[in-house]
């Protein structure tokens, strides 16, 4: 949904503003005021500058004037409101008509993006530009998203852009290292985990999920042991078996890590959740699992007489995870059908 964050009102121009009516090169243009009607709702108290720029923008937009001065005008307008998709669209038409310098355009949009990194339009413009620039642009684009992710490692637009560049223009060689680096910095960064999954499954250099699964499971288990109270690697671990339920059930490392963590942190809901899922998917519980689960849930007053491991785990989760009591009871009620 639209970003609610109002970009900071950064300094738009260093030079004093000259109204368009006083600029000789614009003397032939008649400004077009906004048609808000006599009693508009949500009227905005535009500054004189904003109104002036927009009145002239409307004039060139209506006239479809694809000229160098129109390009300059869109620059001024976008600096004041980078969220105006009409101006961006028109700017692209002007650039294409004039065959303008695309490197210069890149400098412009990158500078604007720095102060407005949660803006859909800017990132869309960057894609359009990168597509025109072609594969040579990939390194620059990766450097740019890296910079943006340094400031906000979870910026959704930056990650989407990075994935798009990888798929369209390449640059896969160092991407797994990049994920490693970010996860080393913050193992809780779920966006970096998601990127890791993307690289593992989609990189043309790594052989895909089936080739990578084994080493990824080890990596993920190691991350879990670093801090078991981190949902991201637990979800990632299960994701590594997506689409291949058999591999999920037969990998002994899955129940093993669950039990290992639960022996130390018996309230780790992520470990319980994974154990529950693997049992639901058809893992036949070994004696060890059975005894461990019974032992860990024994202290509970209710449910300890329950011989079904799955419902027993759900009951335990209902108690230790009260905010999700309704969810766990739903899981319990579905045991016979599909948990």
């Amino acid at each position: 949904m639209p970003s609610s964050s109002y970009s900071s009102d950064e300094e738009v121009e260093e030079l004093p503003y000259v109204p368009f009516s006083q600029r000789p090169e614009w003397s032939d243009v008649r400004p077009v005021p906004q048609d808000d009607g006599p009693h508009p709702v949500v009227p905005i108290a535009y500054t004189e500058e904003f109104r002036d720029v927009m009145d002239y923008f409307r004039a060139v937009y209506v006239a479809r004037e694809l000229s160098p001065r129109a390009l300059c005008l869109t620059t001024e307008a976008l600096k004041r409101n980078p969220g105006n998709y009409t101006i961006w669209h028109f700017r692209r038409l002007v650039i294409e008509a004039l065959n303008s310098d695309l490197i210069e355009e890149k400098l412009f949009v990158d500078k604007l993006a720095e102060g407005n990194f949660k803006n859909y339009q800017i990132w869309h413009h960057k894609r359009w530009l990168a597509e025109k620039l072609g594969p040579e642009a990939s390194e620059d684009e990766h450097d740019f998203t890296r910079l943006m992710l340094c400031r906000d490692a979870k910026n959704y637009h930056a990650w989407s852009h990075r994935q798009w560049v990888l798929q369209k223009l390449g640059g896969w060689e160092k991407e797994l290292d990049f994920c490693n680096e970010l996860l080393k910095e913050d193992i809780f960064n779920n966006s970096a985990w998601n990127q890791r999954y993307f690289v593992i499954t989609k990189s043309p250099l790594l052989g895909g999920l089936s080739a990578m699964r084994d080493s990824e499971v080890d990596y993920t288990i190691n991350a879990i042991l670093q801090n078991p109270n981190n949902e991201s690697p637990w979800r990632y671990l299960q994701g590594l078996y997506k689409g291949t339920p058999d591999s999920f059930i037969i990998d002994e490392r899955v129940p093993r890590i669950c039990l290992q963590v639960l022996k130390e942190y018996s309230f780790c809901t992520f470990a319980w959740n994974l154990l529950l899922d693997v049992l639901c998917k058809g893992l036949k519980p070994t004696k060890e699992i059975e005894e461990a689960v019974k032992g860990l849930t024994e202290s509970d007053e209710s449910g300890s007489s329950d011989h079904n491991l799955v419902t027993r785990i759900c009951s335990a989760l209902e108690r230790m995870d009260p905010i999700r009591v309704n969810y766990w009871s739903w899981r319990k009620s579905n045991v016979s059908i599909n948990c």
Binding site: D36, V41, N81, Y85, I323
Partner: protein, 436 residues
């Protein structure tokens, strides 16, 4: 009064924070995620701790919805916005929707003068070829078309509904249809799960939805579901609350829910309600009041779908396949809940009222942030969902499902479109009678 008792005293929060910091003493240092999270947890805990100090009979007052203050804040924005809103100059139908939907959820009447002003202004945003733009003279855009149509449906009058050029919108939607099956936001604009939802919601509400619009969307949305269970903006993007709502609601409206892995989707959304009692948008991100709607609505929708989530049988999906798309919205509301709740509706109300509500009127993302119209709209929508989430049929919600005084009760919303329910019925009738 039982209902006014907060479900989670602050001690619950405190103990977890303590355990966390104990754990971390062994680790090298806290990461950015952990530091940010602990900061928010302590701010929220401080607020809840204040409530615990208040005698039980007065807690009801502390949990009150300050309707008059909200109306005052909303009215102010409707009549004049400061120059800082220039950055939202291409989102003016959204401003209309955020404010007027908040009015509608609060049960505030709109007089005919205001109604005329809204209809007149939105007509100036309506492109002569079809679709609504972000402001007069701009290009039509799918998101602002969604906002404008929802605003007019919330007004619900003949004048408002007949001001919509349905034929034009249908043509606009067809033009925005991409070869992938998904929709572009505007001419040569971006494609994502959000644009699909805006297109499908509008087409369904206006009863102009057909196979040409629907084709390909189901596969696109399904390809946006991630290994985590939630839905991302585009294929391979991270699971996200806003897009999860958009994706699920779209799938219901086109009757292709069976293409989603509902069990993992529900598991992911349910896990997003956190110790602060509100929802976060993504795993390991901070709580935010607006996800009370996006995540809350996804679970409210799932509650009505459960037989599908429990077992996807071939025969069941084929029964659904014969339905007319344009009646899905109304049939969905006739369907009762298939199960109990999937989230903690009282806890969520506590977060919205105590942490997002602002004394001067309006709602915010979280303590420490400023109020805005977007969060006001989605916090109120989420609050309404909570209040009606246990409702059976047309009965009034039970006082035990309303946190705070019963006068907090809001108008119910239709969880697929997020318009108020009684106006949805009016619009449904209006557009059934008037073919385009």
């Amino acid at each position: 009064m039982k209902s006014s008792q907060p479900p989670f005293p602050s001690s619950h929060l405190d103990s977890t924070s303590d355990t966390d910091s104990d754990d971390h003493e062994h680790g090298p240092r806290l990461t950015v995620t952990q530091e940010d999270q602990l900061k928010v947890e302590s701010q929220v805990a401080e607020i809840y701790r204040c409530l615990v100090g208040i005698p039980l009979h007065r807690q009801s007052v502390a949990l009150e919805l300050w309707r008059d203050k909200h109306i005052e804040y909303l009215t102010k924005g409707l009549n004049q916005l400061g120059h800082t809103f220039q950055v939202l100059d291409a989102n003016r139908p959204w401003l209309c929707y955020w404010i007027l939907h908040s009015f509608a959820v609060l049960g505030e009447e709109v007089d005919s003068e205001l109604e005329s002003r809204v209809v007149d202004f939105l007509s100036r945003c309506q492109d002569k070829e079809g679709g609504y733009a972000g402001g007069p003279g701009q290009m039509p855009h799918l998101a602002t078309t969604y906002a404008a149509v929802n605003t007019l449906v919330n007004l619900g009058t003949q004048k408002a509904l007949s001001s919509i050029n349905r034929e034009g919108i249908y043509k606009f939607l067809l033009e925005m249809k991409d070869s992938s099956g998904a929709f572009r936001m505007h001419h040569a604009g971006e494609v994502d799960a959000r644009s699909c939802y805006c297109a499908i919601s509008v087409a369904s509400l206006l009863k102009i939805i057909d196979d040409d619009l629907v084709r390909g969307i189901g596969d696109y949305i399904a390809s946006c579901q991630t290994y985590e269970g939630g839905i991302g903006g585009e294929p391979h993007s991270e699971a996200h609350g806003g897009y999860t709502f958009c994706g699920l609601a779209s799938m219901i409206l086109i009757d292709e829910v069976e293409k989603l892995d509902m069990a993992s989707l529900i598991g992911w959304v349910a896990s997003r309600q956190g110790i602060e009692l509100g929802f976060q948008g993504r795993a390991n991100k901070l709580v935010d009041g607006c996800y009370s709607f996006w995540q809350g609505a996804a679970l409210v929708l799932a509650q009505k779908l459960l037989p599908l989530a429990e077992k996807v049988s071939e025969e069941q999906s084929s029964i659904h396949a014969i339905r007319d798309y344009s009646d899905i919205g109304i049939e969905f509301m006739r369907r009762g809940n298939q199960t109990g709740l999937l989230f903690h509706h009282l806890a969520l109300q506590q977060y919205i009222i105590l942490c997002s509500q602002i004394l001067e009127g309006g709602f915010r993302d979280k303590p420490g942030k400023f109020r805005d119209y977007y969060h006001t709209c989605y916090c109120l929508s989420g609050l309404s969902l909570c209040q009606y989430s246990m409702r059976d049929g047309d009965l009034k919600p039970s006082p035990s499902d309303i946190l705070g005084p019963y006068s907090n009760l809001l108008e119910p919303v239709h969880p697929l479109y997020n318009v108020v329910l009684d106006k949805f019925f009016l619009a449904n009738e209006f557009f059934s009678k008037n073919s385009f």
